[in-house]
Amino acid sequence: MTNKLSAALALVLTGVAMVAPGQARAGDQAAGVKIEKPWTRVTPPGAKVAAGFMTITNTGSQADRLVGGSVSLAKRIEVHEMSMKDGVMRMNEVANGIEIAPGATVVLKPGGYHLMFLGLTAAPKQGEPVKGKMKFEKAGEMAVEFTVAPLGAKSIGDGDKMTGGHEKDGMDHGSHHMNHGK
């Protein structure tokens, strides 16, 4: 109970870049993951898929696996890996999830590992974080909130820069706000 309360408190206090302890199940003394900067981005109109990204650190003392999860605006999630070779883009579901060694950090980002949001039931909108749950083999389920970056974003930057302010500009103009700062 106190555990849940403090997790909820941490969730509220840290806002977008969330660092919440995984709920260790009985028997797993030291399972734990830290999720940072979960983000997705605006999709073109009518899109049926989106991609989710995040940085995951295994804070436990045993290997864990990201095996799946769910998000509010898609029918389901798959853990995917994208690769480019000889100009060909390939994308596959990662069969047994992404393994994360104790102490290791795995980055899900454009062009590599990503969460595939399949069967979008609503379009991600800037300024409206997307609620989801990530499922780990050992650490169990963890709630996350994906910040929504603009169309075509390649990274989330500092996280909070991307939210608010521009979403009323509409699609054509909203896209100007990103990438030029680099």
Partner: protein
């Protein structure tokens, strides 16, 4: 005696420097040539690339490759159920076209669907409304699309996912053709923005 050894050592070191300088100069020249080939002159075997096709544009109108004759254009293949590379490429090209402004008015960009079963003209039109209006979506029957895929030597394959769904693996290179219909260059996902913009600028200038 000692002085002589020192002198010969210096001489040896100098020759070593000469050899190194020659090597560096050679490497630089090679790099320059490769870069020139990449940006300027047509690519080897370029004339045989591309070809005739009959497709349907995002307004539902028949679109023949005849319409490309004499016009510089960019063409690439993808699908709207793509989470990453297709929308990103469309977005990047939109940005470049905006940077080029009216200069790029003669430059047409084509996004050919490798997934015509799901990418109807209406769906393409809606999807592309988020991007520059100089980008035209093309789709068609499976046979029409298969023909275009073959002409451009594009790789495309269905990959089943759970729930009876599927995704596609596909060539993600953007082909740039000049007004003579020759493959002038390509854009790739790994290149930096400046390089891509320079290539598109050249294509727009060259007409």
């Amino acid at each position: 005696m000692a002085a002589r050894t020192l002198l010969s050592r210096i001489r040896l070191a100098l020759w070593g420097l000469v050899a190194l300088a020659a090597f560096v100069a050679g490497a630089l020249l090679l790099g320059h040539l490769q870069e020139a080939a990449r940006q300027g002159a047509s690519l080897p075997g370029a004339a045989r690339f591309g070809g005739d096709f009959e497709l349907v544009d995002h307004n539902g109108q028949a679109f023949s490759s005849e319409a490309l004759k004499g016009k510089p254009h960019a063409i690439f293949f993808g699908f709207t159920h793509c989470p990453d590379i297709c929308p990103t490429t469309l977005f990047e090209i939109t940005k470049h076209l905006e940077e080029l402004g009216p200069k790029a008015n003669g430059l047409k960009v084509f996004f050919v669907s490798v997934d015509p079963a799901r990418d109807t003209p209406e769906h393409l039109k809606n999807y592309l409304s988020a991007f520059d209006s100089r980008i035209t979506g093309l789709t068609g029957t499976q046979e029409q699309v298969a023909r275009a895929i073959k002409a451009y030597r594009v790789f495309a394959e269905k990959v089943p996912t759970g729930d009876d769904d599927y995704t596609m693996n596909h060539t993600a290179i953007v082909y740039l053709f000049d007004g003579q219909g020759t493959l002038a260059s390509t854009l790739s996902w790994e290149e930096d923005e400046k390089t891509r913009l320079a290539k598109l600028t050249r294509l727009a200038d060259r007409g």
